[in-house]
Symmetry: C2
Subunit: 369 residues, 2 copies
Amino acid sequence: MAGHSVPVDFRVNPAKISNPVERKTLLQDMLPLIEPFTGSLTEISVCEVPGGNFVALYASDTMTLSVKLYSNGLVTATVEYYTDQVNEHKIANDHGRALEKQLMAKFDCSVAKVLPAIKRAPPVNPYFTSSDDRLLEYDTDGIVFEEQSEFQKVQIYSTKSFGNLLVLDDLQNLAEQDLPYTHGLMNKDKEDFAGKEILILGGGDGALLWELLKEKPKFVTMIDIDDVVMKACRKHMKSVCGTCMDNYDGENYKIIVGDAIKYMKDYIKEGKQFDYVFGDLTDVPISPTPRGQLWDFLRTILGLGIQCVRPGTGKYMTHAIGIQCSSALKMFEEQFEAQDIPVTLTRTSHYVPSFMEYWCFYQATRKAA
Amino acid sequence: MAGHSVPVDFRVNPAKISNPVERKTLLQDMLPLIEPFTGSLTEISVCEVPGGNFVALYASDTMTLSVKLYSNGLVTATVEYYTDQVNEHKIANDHGRALEKQLMAKFDCSVAKVLPAIKRAPPVNPYFTSSDDRLLEYDTDGIVFEEQSEFQKVQIYSTKSFGNLLVLDDLQNLAEQDLPYTHGLMNKDKEDFAGKEILILGGGDGALLWELLKEKPKFVTMIDIDDVVMKACRKHMKSVCGTCMDNYDGENYKIIVGDAIKYMKDYIKEGKQFDYVFGDLTDVPISPTPRGQLWDFLRTILGLGIQCVRPGTGKYMTHAIGIQCSSALKMFEEQFEAQDIPVTLTRTSHYVPSFMEYWCFYQATRKAA
């Protein structure tokens, strides 16, 4: 059950819109092309709106067609209706392409586009965005977990393509098919974790811990503040976290439910250092300047994290954001450079299936003291 | 330059829509939440449409807000405006999420969704669909080639994430980052092409030929009907096809511009057989029954192709469609079974970056005579 809005757009000579007679003809010519999908349409109203634009509204027994005619020649027509069959299109892809051709022929225009129905508030949200705000429709078919924790909105969606998908505050976080993400973060096969001491900051989905344990480390400490995430993943993301979160104390690892900042401060005081420190917390925010709460948090984590790394050989490893967000990445790199402790920075990128984009990962080797 | 439509949706108690006083209050309460993005809105019209639904139209200096109130409680509000900055959102992702929370609080509802702006007829189309008709927005930033050939509409888009992207009749075909597709089709590392005789049916992007030549085959024959595709890819998809289409006759390969069906019939007459025959033509169509022109074509290709395969060891290899299209895949498998020549069928799937979904590939070994 959802509303469907089907965008049907084309561009005409602006004179066809400014001239009242041609405008009327345009609307009259357009209706018969759309009526095969809507049924017979009746005019409800046609009126002028600011900017020299016009809006027209038509209705059939079950649908409405709203049209906006921009003075610059753009015509946006939208078919709207309600449907019980959320994933069934009343204007199928093939029909849409045929309609585009008809519009181009009828109005002698080079641009016409019919999009698949936009789903309006369906029971299970199918839409997420890329890190550069592009709209992506997923084949979600249920929500298997939802809870507002003390820290964030925690959801796990079921998807057909990617298995279960952890979503934190409406952002895709990790799906069952996202091994390339965890392996990218680990810089797998380029790093040797055997016998090493490792600290994970965040990592509540358990995927990084589970993959690291396969590499025979000496000991892994993981600190995540949100037990709701860990319990949800333990139950619904078993294929990525295995059994490592069934017990928070293992043979060669421990999981601490707590604030990573507090623990890092203690490690620094004690002089405790690690071969690898992983920043697996919040993504790098997109913003015009590296200011604000989230950047402050990232800077704090980075500063403390690097202090916990063994000089000379130890590394601070972290994910960042989609590779298209070049200014955010540049700002993040500047944060590394601004640290008191110098590092050598390398960067890799990997395509993450459930993000539908290439993601950037950093490896910062702490220079010898 | 494009129109933007921003969907703002929520669900309320149906009584709030059927009752005229409550309906008026709902609209009055909604406007102040949206006006920060649109500027001050003036009512243009409010009217009833079939199905007991209502439509309201408002306008500010530069934008319109059209609202549809469904008798079942769904409210779809759409902010529309024209912008020169196609990729700049007037309601940013963060603002959208804040607006969702405000709507939920104000109307005591559990569902509210604000989507990124839908782009209406921008100069470069960013939208393609998955094989199961989901809407996907790409970071296209130009069209580097466009020509209507005798056989199809041939376009090559420039994209930020995937490099150049070949689009045939408005369907994504192959991007520069799609090595997993070509390797999936080859069943790479599971097959031994060294010293083998190979026939490619289609394959006009040149990627399969280029990858196969790296495996030291005895000889590869490629037959594609559309020289426009080959010439376009030779120029704009160099990273996938290398230099193999610069000359149509190579040391251990030849490219024939022609109809694969005609050539296969000749091979069969001559008794010429191949170790591998690749079907790299049209994708499997989605349709409720395996009927119609496209299925007939597929069946013909399959029937002739398998006849050209050496019995006992030879294989017919082909791509199919997205793994979510299970009924289309089932129908395709039935086409293999319906052949006079028996085969052993195996199936693999690979995530194809530019398709943003998992794609299915088949390997059919011709049984010994």
